[in-house]
Amino acid sequence: MVEIVQIIGLAMVVTVVGAVIKQLKPELALQLSILAGVTIFILVMDKIRLVIDLLQKLAEQANISSYYLFIILKIMGIAYLAEFGCQICRDAGENALATKIEIAAKVFVVILGIPIIVAIMETMMKLLA
């Protein structure tokens, strides 16, 4: 639990220094905030790995096909990354670009979900027939 203290301290330092730099050089302040976001994300990723290991163990015990679990994990990864990029673009005032990242992420999620949708449709057809 040391990490949360580290993250809060890091965010505060970056906020204060960023406020100073923003007045002088806004482009460098933006890059500073991106790097802070990356560092925090990397710290959190180590913890997410633990949760995912737990999910995989649970899925193994419940006899769920790991194929579907991997699809869900991929969708989670895309969502995390898209959210990250989206926030950076929004921070820099590029709202249009942020919206486009969101749309692209949605498209990729739907594409990854196609096998699950097909499986559901086949099950429905079997039940109806």
Partner: protein
């Protein structure tokens, strides 16, 4: 951890800002611009490396492609 990268970027930012102000006051506006661009490029290099690390990590954790 790589907190030192953030401190590095913050230091570069402050240094470039102060250098640009000094050069502008000394009447060397074009050199101030050059210093600003150089600072942005150097910081961008650091940021891109961090971003690449993050993407590789996410790829490994979530089994992306």
């Amino acid at each position: 951890m790589n907190f030192d990268l953030i401190l590095k970027v913050a230091g570069i930012g402050l240094l470039v800002a102060i250098l640009a102000i000094i050069l502008t006051e000394a009447g060397k506006k074009d050199q101030a611009q050059m210093v600003t661009i150089a600072g942005v490029v150097v910081v961008l290099y650091i940021v891109i490396q961090g971003l690449a690390d993050l993407f590789v990590l996410v790829k490994n954790v979530f089994n992306l492609y």
